[in-house]
Each structure stands twice: as C-alpha cells, then as structure tokens.
Symmetry: C2
Subunit: 543 residues, 2 copies
C-alpha cells in the first residue's frame, strides 16, 4: 500500500456496526483531514432494529424507527447504492448503477466490512416465493400492509369458508428474539382491530413455530417459559419442535408432514451472512469472516470486519454473539485501530462484557436479564422502553417516538393499508401437489409457464371431472386469457411440486412477438462461441 | 325494480362524495334497518386531499392525511377492491378478484357513482411512462421517495456534470391548485435539505409549467399574481404559456419545442373522469355523468352521481365546480333523496353557495378568498391550517396532525427514503430522437424490445463512431447481457420516437424458452376460430 496524503476509509453496511464505526471515526477526525470516510449502504437510513416490530403493529410511526444516515454522519460521503463487487486485491469497490448506467469504482486504503446477515430462504421449497422475511423496514411495512389486506379480504368472505380461515391464520417461524417480538406485536395488532372488521376473536389463529424445545434460546429458561406462557395467554399458539419445511401461497408445510393453511407466513429463519461475504477470498468459518481481537480480518492489514458478518473472539475464549451491543463496542475498537494504523500507535484488543438482554412481548410486557438478574412483565417493559428510547439516535427521533407511544396509549391502532405499487408484474410462484393454480370459472388475466414440476388440466362437465392434459417443465397454461376470454374454462391442479412464472396479459404480446427471434439469435451466438472454444481446445492439445 | 324487505345501496368511490354520502346515510339509518350500505373503493382509506402536498415535504406524517374508511363508516360494508364492471341493466357490480380468483357479484337497489376523476396521460408521448401524477397517497409518497433518491444520486455525481443538472431539476406541470401546492411544498423541502447533501442552492432548479397566462385560474387575478410572485421569490421558475407536450426519462418536452432536462416530472394535468364512467351507457357530457338537481343521473330512477365524475346544475344556471366543498354538500342531497325514495317523501334540489377558496403556498403562506374577501400571506396560511385541521375527520387524526405540525416547526425535515419494492420488473419506457438508451461500457442487465419507433446501434472504435445496425418495431437489443456479459459493447441511440419494453435478465430465460411454442399454439387457436367464423359466414349467406 502506497502512503498517500489522505487515506480513504470505505465502510460497507449501514447497520449498527457500519454506522457506529463511521461515527467514532468522525469523532477522531475532528478538524484534521488525514483521512476521508465513505459509507455504502443500499438505504439512506439506519434502522434501529429493536423497535422494528412496533412498525408492524403501528404503535410507533412508520419512520420513527429509522434515521437518515446523512444527519447522523455529516462528515461521511454516503453512497446509497447496491454493491456490485469487492476487489480486495485492487482495493476497489464497484457499486451497482444508479440513474446512469456507468459503473462507479471507489478505491480504498482501509475497508470495513459490516454487511450484517440476511434471512436466507435459498434451497427451501416455496419459501423464496411465499415466505415474508422480517429484517428491514420494507419487510416490516410489507407485513403490516399484507396483514391489513388479508383482514379486508376476510371481512367480505362468508364465515366458516376455507378461504376466510386461511386468511385469518398468521404463522411466524422462528422463536428467537425477532420472531417472538414480531409475533407478539402482530397478535396485539390483529386482536386490537378485528372489531372494525366484524371478525370474532375465535376466528383468528396466530401461530409461532419453533424448531427447539423452548423459545428464546438466548435467554434463561425461566424467562423463556414466562414469555411462552404469556404469548399463549394472549392467544398465540406456540408450537415447539416444529420446523418449517416448505410453503405455497396457501399453506405452511412442517417437517413432520403437517400443514397449516395460511396466507401469511413470516419467517425470521434461517439467517446467513450477506451474500457479498460469500464471494470474498478471505478467511472464513461458517460463512463468517474470521477476525482477530483487533478486528482485522485474518491475514490482512487493512480489512476490518465486525458485527453479524464477522466471527470475533472474546477474551474468555468464546465468540461474540450477533447483537447490537457487541457491534457498537466492536465499532469503537475498529475506529481506534484504524486511526492507530494511520496515525501510528498500538492496536487495541476488543473486550466487552454483555450488560444484559431485553425482549419485548407486546402489550406492556417484556423479559429482561440484566447483570444476571431476571425481570419480567410490566417493569421489564418499562425498562425496555426507557433504555431503547435513550439509545435511539437523535433528539428529534426520540421526541417523535415518545409522542407516538403517548398517542398509542389512548388512540386506536392505525388501520391504513399503504400500497406503493399496484403492478403485479411477472411473478414467481410455488405449488404443492393437490393445490389448484386456478379454478374453472375464475377470472383470468395471466398466463403461466412451468419452470419445474407437473400439473394436470381438469374440466368439470356434468358433475364429472375430466382430465384434459398433463403438463411439465417448459410447458404453459392459461393462455386463453390472451384471447380476451376472461374466465377460465378448466382448472389447473399441481401434481408434482411445481414452480411457475406467471405473466400478466398486458406484458405478454410484446414479449411473444419478439422473443422467438431473440432466442434464435442467442443460440447462434452461443453455438459460435462453443465452436471457437472447441477449436481453441483442439489447438491446445496440439501444442 | 321489485320492492324487497331491505334495500341495498351500493356506493362506488371512497373520496369526499362517496364517503360523505355513506356517512349521511348511516346517520339516517339510525337504529332502523330498512336499507344496507356497501361501499367499494380500491383503498381502505379516505384521503384528505387538501393536505396531500404536505406528505411530499414531510411536514405531516405519511398516514396523517388519510383515515381508515372502516372507522369512519362502522355500519357500512366496505369492499377494498378494484371495480371490474358495472351493469346498470342487471343492477349488479362485479369487483376484481382478491385472494381467490372467483368474481364477486354485488347487486344493488340504489347505485351511487362517486368515482371522481383521474390524471389521464393517455395519448401523450412518453407521459404514461415517465410523468408522475399527483392524485393519490401513493403518488405523494412516490414523489417524496423519488426526490430523495434523486438527491442521493446528485450528491455523488461530479459538480457541473450533465447528469447532476438533470437530477437537480424538478418540473411540475399544471398551475391549478394542486400543481401550485405540490410545487410549493417540493421547493420548500428540497431547499430545506440540500445542505445535508452538500448541494448548493444555485444548483437546484424547480420549474412550474402552466399553459395559460396566469396560474390559479380558479382564483381572483390579484391573488394569483401574489402567489406567482411569492413562488418566484422562493426560487420557483414559473413558466406561463408553457404546455407539456411529451416526456422521456431524461427530459420534459414543451409544445414550443424547448426541452428541459430533468429526472423528475410531475404532472397534475390533464384530468378526466374515471375510466369506469366511460364504459357506462348513461347520459354524459364532456365525459361526465349528467345529473339533475336532485342528483339522479338523467333518465334513471335509482342511479345517483356526484363529485368530480358528475355534471350537476346550480340554481343560478352554471355547473358545480369539482371541489370537496361541493362534493360534501351534494352527498347530503344524495343521502336525503335516497332516503326519500325508500321511505317516501319529496326529493330535495341541490343548492349551495361556495364559502370560499383556499390554496397553500408552503412555508407559512397561503392565498384565500372568503365571502368575497381576498387574504394572502401568513394570515391566510393560519386560516388554511385552522380550517382544514377542523375539517379533518376524527379527533385522533387531528391530534396527530397538530403534533406533526408542531414538530415541524423546530425539527429538520424527514429525510428517509422509503422503498417498498426493490424489483424493477418488466418496464415500459419512451425515448425521443437523439437520446441514448445505453452507452458503450455501461453495465447491462436488461434486454429491450422495440414496440414502436427506431434506433441505431453505434460502436465507438479508435475515436470514431461506427453505425452497426438500424433497428425497428419488433426488434430487440441488449441481448448480450444474457450471455453473462455485463458491460455494453456498443451504444444504442433512438432515431425516431420510440417505445420499448425492457426485461431484466433474471426473468428472461424462462420466458424465452416457452414463449415460442405458446405463440404457435395461440396462432393455431386463432386460425381455427377464424375458420369457424368464415364457415359460419358462408352458411349465413346461404340461408
């Protein structure tokens, strides 16, 4: 690394790890200018994760839980972009294009990897298409709007119909902190608003699935059992030893073979480090970056890692847990050590003893474990609110949250469904055997392409079902909708677990008219390339 | 019409006209049950239109300006659905499918048409693809998020670059009340936050286009000129006699041939009645339903029309203007007359004298015309806030708005960009001659299909531009992106005004593999149908 006048520190990720690293570095910078700061994050805000579940229930405003990064970090250059690639050899980051399509290359002297983790549904049948993660502000809003949508639809369906039951069943998978917080808020919200929909309390089913023998494995068993009982008392069905295996648009499928009909499946598991970390050629273990006690990635001199994407050793021999408390303290060490390596000085070793753990259970209850003491119920809830309110960045934000909490004490829950896009576009869907894609007589304005699996076309004629055709991968159905026929003249039923791509009528014509030629063209190019490759291989064997 | 025990009144539309009609009808219903109410609206909330512009600037919270219809109308059955069709002969409404695809048919005894109007870009080159309407809550949020996105991008572009200039130019077309309110709030917001982006005041350009010789034609000339001067003083470029003619993703094209490079084009004009009204076989004029003074649609006995989709005669001979004041009073007449026709009694004739007009100009200024008196500046602004706060439905909502306004006095404007969807999907785009679709070296992950117009493929080689090909309707380009080539090896430039459909790489493969067969199949079906039709025609000539 050549020593330049002014070094550039590039931080990837705008969660607790990234934002607090930048904040400590800004403090260290003061009036000097021996380094500059760039932070790259795909959103322009920092999410205060502990309050995210309250967005679902609306007890705080939509924007109360997030803070604009620019305001928190006035001396940092913020790039609101997706990251396209990280080159640790050339020491550059390429970001995905914004309004212009020209790639943007940012070089660094020090790189801070604080990319966190993601909910990762890959490889789980139907989950990528139909399960809703709970990680970002968009997820929280999406859940909220979806739940209101579902209630609106349930209200106009006849009582005791299968559809109404599906609509009124809400499933959350994962009994860790975030799963428990979201199921608690969701349950409070739904039971608080159903009277506006003329829906009975007994019609609503809220289910929490957890794979192990008790929820909240992070906490002491007594507190976990307290939480479990409290949720049960409020009407949440806690199912232990229940692992979510697959999903369709209408069901959650469990590993033991049982099925829960539902239109709302939220899953907080499984989580894995950001996919960008996967691509890096750096020392890793269980997908996470191996950092040393100074938070340098092993075998590097200018790449730092912290937070949920890093494995950081603790003084007593264990590894840091993936919590905000640790990320914030790690950020301090990273900032100090970067400053030391620029200005000279000794590296610090990360050391921190956890203060405690807090988990909200909705409606004026929480569990807490502070300095080894267990607290539950109203007192823990009061602690939760006080501690997190003080930890929320910025006085403006604190004021707004305090106001929202006050209103929430006496005003009814917010019921507005926010739709930002109306377009349904091209969609991926998963079906399980026996499930109907559509039914004879339904309104149809989409065509379907089977990407894998099998289906059967069935026509009901004079009370008899006649099988018209079997369809497999690469085949399609529903195309009659394009001939201005708006009701389906047969039903299509899944025979073998099936993935489909569905296309709205409106987009189809332009696609169908051009794609054949385009495909031919591509095949020619590919054939030519293969021929060149063969020729080259032939030459190489001769040399 | 057969007399039933209990009559069903179906109201279409959840704006001022529809919601207030239902509200008056609920009052008339009291404890009786001789009629029931159904209201169909595509959102579950009522928008308090006058405050919508404040959502753009964030001086009120996102949800402060809307109220859940269920809470306002506890005795009305609400269907949150799009309307598929209206059958005035069979007296039924069919709504678009929700979670299940089965059509829902709702019959009525009385029908209330309060469908309002829509911003209608049809037939205007490039506007449907690139202009943003300002009518609904989604529009207001979209504008807000788009503007923040644009500022984020401008902040990381070099000063004086063309792209930065485009990004920092904001154009609003239409100088009526809503255009003026949105341009005022937008201008306040942008100039209030640019310091967080290290953007200079002088780099920002906010333009208001108006086709006539002065803005706010609804108001007295003196007030309109006051507003015009105030906007100009705050940095808004007011362009009179300027009619928006066409748009691309990077420019607004005016009727006089001039062009304004911009990435943000908002248009409040032209407006036309809801397309559903078009399809009705009822007496109309200029696209609006002709109602009589009792608000019955002419030649009908149970179809009522009010608000912006109706032409209602005034006592003095004119027609009612399309404002909330009139819609609310018309709603009272509609409700009274429906009750009279169910329970017996005389029809009332609509009569109302306008109280006044109010228009906000952002930052503590407004114009008002009340009982013939002109008021402007701070006093008008104070009146505006007081009157509208009291008119806002529900105490909870009023409290929240008052709190937001209070915070807004001393807290900096909200800067969070809310993205609810990340997918870009299949998109429609419009290009004008000379404009580049993409540039050699750009990152490419989409293919393009030309639906109309022409383009040229140009490769720059050794400082020379070589034209490689000309493309027309039905042809495509950018397909090399599919062969894992991520940078474009040539530029594509529009030669004749061109519409394209662009498809992300990810969706392409499944489409390309299946569409050819699907198309063949469709052609066969169509040929068969044609043959049948020919045969039938042949038979008919013989009979």
């Amino acid at each position: 690394m050549t020593k330049k006048e002014r070094q550039r520190i590039v931080i990837l990720g705008g969660g607790f790890g990234g934002v607090y690293t930048a904040m400590y570095l800004e403090k260290a910078l003061g009036r000097r200018d021996d380094f500059e700061l760039v932070l790259i994050n795909k959103e322009n805000y920092f999410v205060f994760q502990p309050m995210l579940a309250e967005v679902v229930s609306g007890s705080i405003g939509i924007l109360d839980t997030v803070s604009p990064i620019r305001r928190m970090l006035p001396k940092t250059e913020l790039h609101v972009r997706e990251i396209e690639s990280i080159d640790t050899v050339g020491q550059t980051i390429i970001t995905a294009p914004g309004f212009n399509l020209h790639p943007k290359v940012i070089s660094y002297d020090h790189l801070v990897l604080a990319l966190g983790n993601v909910t990762d549904f890959r490889g789980l049948r139907g989950l990528p298409e139909h399960a809703i993660p709970f990680k970002t502000l968009s997820d929280a809003l999406y859940i909220r709007n979806h739940v209101i949508h579902v209630l609106e639809e349930a209200a106009i369906e006849p009582r005791d119909s299968d559809l109404r039951k599906q609509l009124l069943t809400f499933v959350v998978a994962g009994g860790g902190f975030s799963g428990v917080e979201v199921v608690a808020e969701l349950n409070d919200f739904i039971r608080g608003v159903i009277k506006n929909y003329q829906i009975e309390e007994s019609e609503v089913r809220v289910v929490l699935l957890h794979a192990l023998d008790r929820i909240l494995p992070e906490l002491d068993e007594k507190l976990a059992l307290y939480a479990q009982n409290l949720l049960a008392k409020r009407g949440v069905e806690v199912r232990l030893h229940a692992r979510l295996d697959a999903a369709t648009g209408v069901e959650a499928l469990l590993a033991d073979g049982s099925r829960i009909p539902t239109r709302t499946l939220i899953s907080t598991v499984p989580s894995s480090p950001n996919p960008l970390i996967d691509l890096l050629k750096l020392p890793k273990e269980r997908g996470k970056l191996k950092a040393d006690a100074s938070l340098l990635v092993e075998n590097t001199i200018n790449i730092w890692a912290l937070g949920d994407c890093a494995l950081v050793p603790m003084k007593d021999g264990g590894l840091c847990p993936p919590t905000a408390q640790f990320a914030i303290r790690q950020a301090k060490t990273v900032a100090d050590n970067i400053v030391a390596s620029i200005r000279g000085g000794q590296f610090k070793q990360f050391h921190f003893k956890e203060l405690g753990k807090l988990g909200a259970l909705g409606h004026r209850s929480a569990v807490a474990q502070v300095f080894g003491i267990n607290i539950s119920g109203f007192l823990a809830w009061f602690m939760w609110r006080t501690i997190y309110l003080m930890k929320l960045p910025g006085w403006g934000r604190r004021l707004k949250v305090a106001a929202s909490w006050t209103f929430d004490l006496f005003l009814p829950p917010e019921l507005v469904q926010l739709k930002l896009t109306n377009s349904q576009g091209v969609a991926h869907e998963h079906f399980e055997p026996g499930q109907e894609v559509f039914h004879q007589g339904d309104i149809g304005d989409r065509i379907y392409i089977i990407t894998s699996g099998k289906a059967e076309v069935v026509k009901r004629d004079w009370e008899r079902d006649i099988s018209l055709a079997h369809l497999g991968a690469g085949e399609f159905f529903g195309e009659m909708a394009l001939l201005n026929q708006t009701t389906r003249n047969a039903s299509v039923r899944c025979v073998e677990a099936m993935d489909v791509l569905s296309i709205p009528k409106r987009e189809f014509s332009a696609l169908a008219a051009t794609l054949p030629t385009m495909r031919e063209n591509l095949e020619k190019v590919m054939a030519r390339r293969q021929a060149q490759r063969n020729l080259q291989a032939w030459f190489e064997t001769r040399l």
